[in-house]
Every structure is written in C-alpha cells, then in structure tokens.
Subunit: 749 residues, 2 copies
Amino acid sequence: MRQPQLSALFILACFFLMPFSAPGQLLGFSQESATAQKKLEAQFDAQLNAKNLDEWMKHMAAHPHHVGSPWGKQNAEFMAARFREWGFDTKIETFQVLFPTPKLRLLELLEPTSYRAGLEEPPVAGDAHSAQTDEMLPPYNCFSIDGDVTAELVFVNFGVPADYEELEKLGVDVKGKIVIARYYGSWRGIKPKVAAEKGAIGCIIYSDPREDGYFQGDVYPEGAFKNEYGVQRGSVLDMPLYPGDPLTPGYGAVEGAERLSREDAPTLTKIPVLPISYKDAQPLLAALSGQVAPPSWRGALPFTYHVGPGPAKVHLKLEFNWELKPAYNVIAKMEGSAYPDQWIIRGNHHDAWVHGANDPISGMVAVMEEARAVGELAKSGWRPKRTLVYCAWDAEEPALLGSTEWVEHHARELRQKAVVYINTDSNSRGFLDAGGSHTLEQFFNEVARDVKDPQTGMSVYERWRARELVEGRPEPKDFSLDALGSGSDYTPFIQHLGIASFSLGFGGEGRGGEYHTAHDTYEHYTRFKDPGFQYGITLAQVAGRLSLRLAEADVLPFEFGQFTETVSTYAEEVMKMAGQLREQTEKENRLIREGLYAAAADPTKTFVVPAPKPEVPYFNFAPLQNALSSLKKSAGAFEEVRKKASLNTEQQTALNQLLQTIEQQLTRNQGLPRRPWYRHHIYAPGFYTGYGVKTLPGVREAIEERKFTEAQEQIGILSGVLSGFAQQIDKGTAILQQARAVDSANGPE
Amino acid sequence: MRQPQLSALFILACFFLMPFSAPGQLLGFSQESATAQKKLEAQFDAQLNAKNLDEWMKHMAAHPHHVGSPWGKQNAEFMAARFREWGFDTKIETFQVLFPTPKLRLLELLEPTSYRAGLEEPPVAGDAHSAQTDEMLPPYNCFSIDGDVTAELVFVNFGVPADYEELEKLGVDVKGKIVIARYYGSWRGIKPKVAAEKGAIGCIIYSDPREDGYFQGDVYPEGAFKNEYGVQRGSVLDMPLYPGDPLTPGYGAVEGAERLSREDAPTLTKIPVLPISYKDAQPLLAALSGQVAPPSWRGALPFTYHVGPGPAKVHLKLEFNWELKPAYNVIAKMEGSAYPDQWIIRGNHHDAWVHGANDPISGMVAVMEEARAVGELAKSGWRPKRTLVYCAWDAEEPALLGSTEWVEHHARELRQKAVVYINTDSNSRGFLDAGGSHTLEQFFNEVARDVKDPQTGMSVYERWRARELVEGRPEPKDFSLDALGSGSDYTPFIQHLGIASFSLGFGGEGRGGEYHTAHDTYEHYTRFKDPGFQYGITLAQVAGRLSLRLAEADVLPFEFGQFTETVSTYAEEVMKMAGQLREQTEKENRLIREGLYAAAADPTKTFVVPAPKPEVPYFNFAPLQNALSSLKKSAGAFEEVRKKASLNTEQQTALNQLLQTIEQQLTRNQGLPRRPWYRHHIYAPGFYTGYGVKTLPGVREAIEERKFTEAQEQIGILSGVLSGFAQQIDKGTAILQQARAVDSANGPE
C-alpha cells in the first residue's frame, strides 16, 4: 500500500470524525470544528450576566401568574418582546385548555369536636409578595372534581398501594370514608387515584412538618421551610394515563377543537380532593383513634398518630369554576444555516401556582439568558447550523398543558424535525442533577466536565462525583443520567413522540418548603435558593453548551454503548425484581398458610391475616437477553467503524437524518398497556408512582402489578423494540462502512 | 460378640445417659429420671396461681421502695417471712452501700430567655400511687457528683462517641459547655462519661417523646407511654469499670469494711448530671441555634433541632446526701438432698426507683411464686437433689449493689458451689426474651419447647419462632440465647466469677414509657403490661423448670457444640468487623486526602474535615482459628462419647464436679484491659455501650477503639482461654471414656 499524502487526506476528509473525543476534542465534531466550537462557547459564556436573571425574576415573579392570570399573560408578552429584541422569530401560540379554579372550599371537623379549616396562607412578615392574597389562587388541587361528602376519617400515610395493604392487615377499610394522606411518598395525584380505587369518597392531602416543615429546618420567614400555614397546591390529574388537556387527548386544544365532555374525561379525579396545611391537619389527625399508625407512618406533629376510622368525622365540600383558559406558549426560533429542519428545542415553563420564583422562574430566566447570549452571538454574524427553538411553556402546573398541547398539535412536524428537547424547571444552589436519553449520556458527560461549579471552581462533574463518593457510592465511570419519568415539560417530547430529551438543574443545597405555596417568592429565592444567581448562570452554561453543541455538531453525537449498558442494567433489575417478588410471595404465603402471622400477632389488637397471593411464575427472559446481546453487537460495530470513518457531505447528511429520529425507534404507536399515549418502551412515569420513572415499563409494571401473562407478552414486545433499534443502528453502521470503504480505497487504515 | 441381655444392661447402666434427648427425654436425665422430672414439673405447675402475683404486687408496690426506704425494708421482711413459711432456710444479709440521694436540684435557662425547670412528676388522674410524692425520690441520676456549673448548651444526640465525631465535623466543641443528650442509644451512664471525656462540664439527659413518649403511643394515663412530666431516673455509675458499691471495689461492703474515700472512687461521674422530662427540655432545646441537627438526631418535639452551642445558656446546680444505706438481700435456701454443695441460684431484685410495679416487682413475684410452689412440693416429701437458693436483691437500681456485694463477699464459696445463676427482672406480655451462657443453650431449648404461651397455646419457643419468621429472619435451628452484657443482677455472677447464668423474661406486647418514673405503678402494670399476670405465671413455669431440672439432673446439662458454634460466629463477626473498619478507614482517609469531603460540603455551612485515621493493619487471627478448631474437636468428642457412656456414681460425681465450674475456665484473674473486675473473655458489657454486650470483648473493643497492638495481644489471650476450656472438656471426655471402657467390657456398642 502506498503511503498517503497526509495533506491530501485532510482535504478529502473534511468531515473527519473523532466520535470518542480525545483531549480537546468533542463527540460529533472534527478537530477543527471542535476548536471553533470551544471558541464559540467562550464567547457565549462571556455574554452571561447574573444581573439579568435577578432583574427578570424580580419582574416576572412580581405578581401571581397562574394560568389565565393577567400577570401570566404579561409575562408571556414580556418574554416574547425580549426574544424578538434578541433576534428570534417569535410567536405566542395559544391553546384553550380546561383549567378549573376554586369556587367553594369547605373542610370541617364535625365530630368528636368541631373545627373549620382556615385553608388560607396569611401574609408573612418581611415578604411583601406573600401579602398579594387577592391576586392568588387559594390552595387547591387542580382537576379535583366537585363534591360534597361527609364521612369518618382514615389516615392512610402516603396513600400508596402498599399503605392500603398495611391498613387491611390492621382491619381498616376506607370504603365510604374520607382519607387523609400526607404529601411525599408518591406524586400527589396517585393519592386520590388509589383512594378512589379503594372506595374512599374524599381525599385530604396535608403537608406534615416531617417532610418539609420544622423537622427539616427553620420555617419561613426565619428559615426556608414550610410554616404552619403553608399549603402545597398542585395538579391531581391522572397524568400517568395521559397529561395535557383532559378534554383533548392526543391532539391540540386549539380554539374550536372537538372536546370530550367533562363527564367523559378519564383523567379527572373520581373523588373530591383538597390540600391543607399542618395547622389545619392537626385537629383532624389528633381526633382520630383506632390503632396507632405503624412507625414509618408517623410524622412530626406532637401527638400519637392513629389510623382511625373516626371518631373524627369530616365534611368536605368543593366546587370549581370549570372554564377554558388561554395557555400562552412563547416559541422563539433562530433558523439553522445548514440544517434548518433539524431542531434543537430548549424549554422551560413560565406559569406558576403563585409567584413561582423558584418554580419555574429560576429556570426560565436561565433559558432567557441563554437565548440573549445566542442573540448576541448572532448579532456578531454567527448563525447556528441547526435551528434553535426556545420555548416558554404556559400551563405546566395544572398538567403540562402548554407543552403537551403544542407537541400534540405539531406532532407530525416534530417527528420529522425535532432532534433533541432540553428541559429545565426549578434551579438552586448545589449539585448537577440531570436525567435524559442514554443515547446522549456520553455527549452529556463532555459538557458536565467542561462547566465549572461556581462555589468550588472544579467542574460540575467533579463536584457531583465528590458527593457520590462521600455518600458511599462506588467510583462513577461517568455522570449517570437518571431515567426520565414525568413531572415537567419533557414528558410529551420523550414519552409521547420519542424525541431524545434532557431535563436538568442544580440543587441539593438550596432547600426549603416553599414548593407550590405563596412563599415561593423573590425574597425566599434570593435568601435561600441561589443568592446572586450563580447557579442560574451555571445552568445557562450547561444547557447552553448542550444546545450549541447539538446545533453545531458535524454529526449528531448519539452513542449506543452506554445506552446498551444502561438498558442491560434495567433488564437485570427487572429479572432480579421478578425473583425477589417470587421469593417474597412464597415467604409471605408460607407465613399465611402455616399460621405464623396469626401466631406472632398481638391477640389484643386487630390483625387481619391477608389472603395468599398467586405464586410468581418463572418468565422467559431469553428474548430480551438475546435482543440485548444483538444490541450490544450493533452498538459496538457502529462505534468501531465510526472511529475510523470519514464521511462526505452526502453520507453525513444521511447519517444525521438517521440519528435524528433514532430514539423514536424506541416507541410503538400502540403505546403501553392501558395507556397508549405513553409510547416509549424504555422510560415511563409509573402508573402508581406518578412522576417517578419505571424503566422497561411494560415488563416491569406487569410483574409488579402481578399481571403475569401480560409480563411475558411485554418481554416479547420490548425485545422486538430493541431489535428494531439495533437494526436502525446497523443502518448507521452501513453508512459509515460506505464511507470507510471510500476511505480505505484511498489509503491504509 | 455375644448378644447382651438387655435387662442386665439396664440394671448395670443405672445412670445411663442420653444427652441428646429423644422425645420424652431430657438432657442430663436418664429415661427414668426424665419421666419422674416431668411428673414433678406437672405438680409444680399445678401449684402456680396468678392471684398470688397480683396480691404480692399490690402489696410490695404499694409505696415507693428505693434503697433505704421504709417500704424497701418492709418488703425485704415481708419476703423473708414468706420464704420461711414456705420452708426455706432464710436470712436477710445486709450490706452498707453508698447511696446518694438529692439534696438540691436546680436547672435554669439564663439566656436568651429564662426558664426554671420544674423537675417534678405531678400526680396523674386515676393513679393514686402517683400522688405519693412525699415518699418518692425526685428524678435524679444516681452517682452524679455534686456540681454548680453555668455554660452554653450543646445538643449531642445520644451522647455516644459517634455523635461527637459528627459534632467535630460540624465544628462544634463541647469543651467548657453543658451538653444535653436524649435517653436511649446507649446505657445512660455512657452519656456523662463520654461528655466528660470530651471536656463538657455538665450533662442533662432528657426523654424525647420520639423514644418512649407520644411518638410511640398514647401517653399516661390515657395510654402507657411517657407524658410530658415523666422523667427516667437511673444510675450513672461507671459500671463498665466495675458495678457495685463504688467505695468497696472487689469485696463486700459489710459493716466496718475498709472504704475508698469518695474522691478516690473511680466510678462516680466526673461532671454533674441530671435527667429531665420533655416538658423541661423543650424550652432549652428550642433556645438553641447553630447548625440544624443531622436528620437521625431529630426527635419528636415540634420544632427544629439545632446543635448549638448557645445562645441557650444554662445553670445546673446539684447537691446530694452522700450516705451509706443498708441494702437488704433476702437469701432463702433449700438444701439439696444429694449434692448440697451444688447451688442453683435464682434471683431478682426487689428495690425500685419509685413503686417499681414492672421493674422489678413483676419479676420478683414470679420468683416468689416459684419458691412457694417448690415449698409445696417439699411439704409433700420431695427434696431437690441440689441446693436451691432464692435471692431477692436490694439496691440493684443504683448499680447492682446488693447482688455485687453479696457475690464479692461470698466469692470463694460461690466459685466452689454455684452451678448456675438464673435472673429475672421486669416481665410483661409477649415473647420469651432470654440471654445466657451458650454452654446451656441446648438445655434452655428443651424448656422453651415445654412451656405453653398463655395467649396462643403453642409453646413459647414456637411463638418466638413465628415472630422470627414474620420479621424476616431465617428459620431458626433453636432458640438463640442472647449474649449477656450487663443491666441486671446476673452481672457479678457471670462477668466477675464466670458462673454460668441466664437472664430471661417476657415482653414485646406490654410496652410503655413508665421505666424508672413515678408511673411504674400497679395501675399502669395491670392496665398495660400483663393484665391477669398470665405471663408472670409463664415466667414462673420457664424459670421454675430451669431451676428444677438443674437441681434434679443426673449429670449437669452443659453442652459444648452450640457454645463452639456461637463463639465461632462471634469470631467471624470480629474478623469481618476488622476488615470493614480497614476498608472504611481507607475510604474515609481517601475522602479526606483527595479533598472530596471538602468538595462535597456546602460552603455556606461550617464543615471541618476530620484528620485521617491510622490505617487498620491485618491481624493474625490464626491462633484464634486454631483454638476454635481444637474446641470444635473437643466438643465433638465429648458429645460423641457422652451419647454412649454409662456412668457409675463415682464417675457421675466426678463429671458433675468438673462441669459445675467449667464456665469459670472462660475467665482470667487479670480480667479485661483497664477493667480487671470483668473477667469473662466471651461476654462483657461494652466499655462505651454500658449494658450492651460486646462478645469476645478483649479483641473486639481493642479493634473498635483502634488499639491495634492490644488487639493482637488479646487474640493470643483469648486463644489461650479457649484452649484451656477445650482441655477442661477433654477431661470430661476422659471421665466418659473410662465409663465407656467399663461399658464396652460388659457388652457391644
């Protein structure tokens, strides 16, 4: 073989790739492009100014700005004006969404004593915003149905299925009762959902000081935590079924769209539900007798927790204004110079429950600063190769309404054009916290290693790693992306359409109990969350790099080795879980059948021995294991050949087009059992956890819910999905091999 | 070989042993003796009457009866009269012991607000006994020194060494401060001991409602748990150094005995210490600021727990009457017909902090009913083969004074005559709970399988097993005896003299917060602890069988296989612990040296990176492993030959004499490092746990306390002790082999 002319090769391989980046290199960038990119990022960083974040938060969190409020509209218009100033093609896309607000809220204890719940958050000294009570929505759970119920009370701990199993053992049935559950332990919407499944007729949710009140730290205004009046508002829509407008499932809630009647909307609660403070919960809980609650159920209130039922008897009456309200999504585009039809989408919501300084304005102002900095770069002549889309979602709080309706409405276009969606929401001082598609984990790591933590000067990766080690976890190979469930606006992108997504923020040192209360104000944020907005800037640096690198990469930086490893871990977890469930079921059935439960129980207390459960069969996991084995080969082959391939423009375009939609191969149109809206087969929010992710959800939840026939079917379906994904990778490998063949013809390896 | 005449063999083998008992047989008994024994036990059971327990408790707990009180003396005399009526040779042995009582108790908060602690337990509605405040000792910690100190306050959680490591990380030093610790987490005496080691000048101990107040259940008088006024009294003598009279270490505190001056008594506290209620603790704790206490430190009071120091400043002033008081031990003997110099000792204390219905009268009345039933058997002509000694100890509460002085005073005789000591103390409804010498574990199991649980009708063993399985522990092979540490009157017997011991009781279903308060009354006991005294009778059945079988056995039922297995488990634990400490030290040192602790810490909070600790060397455990290997062979050989041996009277006597003192081979006169009073090398109370046992204490504590040279020395010493023990077993085997040789000469195996 002849010795090639290096210079000639360089000219030829103008799109030479080094996907595994050596020092100074970046995944998806040639050496040359990487150098340019680093320079661009330095220019971007130089633009970022914490004062802007401060000023915008002060403005946008100046008044309550829930869906349909004057200040919400003002904020949308304010942001649209800014995006326009910064050079973006900006519009406000409005959807008409169902947004119930309280008309009547009544909660009273009737027996054995009487108490009428205050249900209000009075102003707090030193926080002028907290005094704007006239502009606020009072505490409520959004999408509770109307109701007027009176019944004995039962304390159900967090109100998750395991708690009801415990209650059954204690001989307590919630049928016809009103339950009181404490916040945490699950997403709040699970609590009334399970309560209704168990026959309860009403649900109260309260904030125990154990979770985010005085047990955790000093309370507002002395400290950051929830005081006796604080109430967590929040949605209780059955989002694990589908998020977004309950009346327009699967399509955009535009003006004039066909709508379900409210009676037919399956995601509204089945029973009335109301959130209360611990000041209001205290007389109710203290009036319960019956058995003492199990140790792990007891909170931090100063009395003995009993489960009831009764003698506490309560009356709960709720009425709502069932109105359509406009949701204003601000969409700001900067068209790509090379690939205008490849969109990098960056979003955060702008609506809040009250002032929302932390949730969501702390994230929103970082997005704005990123956009402003990009605008500045553009003013100096630069243009992104791919289209950048900055989004400020409305109506996230009630149920991801703004983003979901937008995604549903633009589904066809997004399937073709959306490459990646990058989400943020609340942000505060501390450690990088990020979830996302594992096809982008390697790419994400390069960014996490390139951005400095403002408090220590080390990289945000290194600081995260220090905490991992201090908390006793093993030496990490890389920053591990969490799997995405739900809880913010990435949900429709990744779960419904299969668009590769990230969701990230900082936190862990800026704690508090202000979430969804009237105390999430500018005062609270700048005292306790991120004084000086240093982490707002750091967030802009991380998310800005993610956006800019995705916009500029020669070849989209997807990688399949870490994805395969991660999914293999999930598969091992599921197999282990099946084994444990089998063992645990056998053990429990033995305790029941041999009378051991009865023998160990205190005969002076009620203890109902549960019925034995069907034994857990052995599943055939071989199809999944074989699919993962193929996937590993495909991922390996792709990386192997990618390292050596030089692509011409046509090949690069073909590869980019293939990669752009590859995450969509992990979805199926049929979706998951009983909830077709959720199409991703690797990640989903749990049917009984709400926000919390269930990986390999079809298989995992079938086993957990003891649907054993379905579990075996889902193993087959998941295996098919993974095989299809591997085939798509193989197509990418074929493109790379073509390039390599050309390359080889021109010189030695 | 000739076919033997079975009948001839039977006559010859009149003392034939079946040590591993087949059905209907008992360890240490011939078939014939076992049958007689079972009959005797049925007669014993038939005597037991719950009404006696009720009546005696009502009488003995009618007034406060602490050391030196009129009712304490009355109780001793009452019991002595009863034992005499029942046919026992009874005397009251009196010792003169140091027993300080409060002269002045003052605790006040001086800054930032002022509060004077009430330090009283007012009468409780419905409990007439609680109104006898004039007769009570007010709440105090016995053997606190006098003191008058004023300083800033620091909250130290349980006040154990690990808590001070945590405080150091938080940058908090207790030097010159007064500490406030909560009860539990260690024996109370550890709290002022460690506080003084760390430089504190005063110590307050309070009862957090988390541990035995409203967090656990309804409070007295509605429920059994500690109300806001309840204070746990109790000794704070440095008992891990030596228990008993602090002025007469190692010898009896008889009238006229030489005594240390109080200044030279090493077991008194180094700083003043006072116990308080949570009503009195609340203003003090609430006045602390500084860092928020770590999550596991927080109790159930309704505020944020801070560690301080200050701004809370407190004044603690304590003065005591330092007087000698008479301790009345009631000693009742029934001489053995065959082996009068082999004593089976059965004991319980009779003194209380206040009324002591549960602690100790619930156990004391069971002892009395056992003795009464034995007396009834004796009236019908029966006599025990070995001497039965029933003891009612005085002055257990201040520091095991009565039993310790008696044991020290009679040490020479006890070393020769005492076979086994069987202790009880508090008793309530629930599950058998027993610790003891593992040389008697197999014997104990036969008893636990023969006594019925009064609530379920199954054996107390079976009910215990049911709970083991329900709580997720593995299928037990046998009832596992806990290792004995300290905390009741078995301590001088087993720890100082090496007399094989048991300590047992029932509990787990009769819970409450009355321990050492003015609420441990007849009213409380009969409502919440053991209504109807069913478990008092069951305790008498278990302890009565232990006594009677030991008194009647043909050969003492010691067995060494389970002992060897148990000690091997301890050795494995210690080896594992050494490995874990090594690994943990390396890990922690790495976090320190690589700056990871500093990197992960919140820079807005004080965090002092600790100094690296010396690395843990590898120890040579081979001597211990070899000793255990020999022990296993010796134990196996003994059992092997015992199964087949027939002993003549002389051989039986020789074997009994050997077995009677064999546990003493586990002691050394030099005792444990820095505390020669503790001589047993398998069991000891922990130097920094107080009551809690440390098995293989010489080795284990040296490693835990990072005295690595000493650890290696102690491995050698322990190995020597175990080898000596094995040699003693071999002597027993030789006796059995003699017998077997005779037997073999008379017929085939």
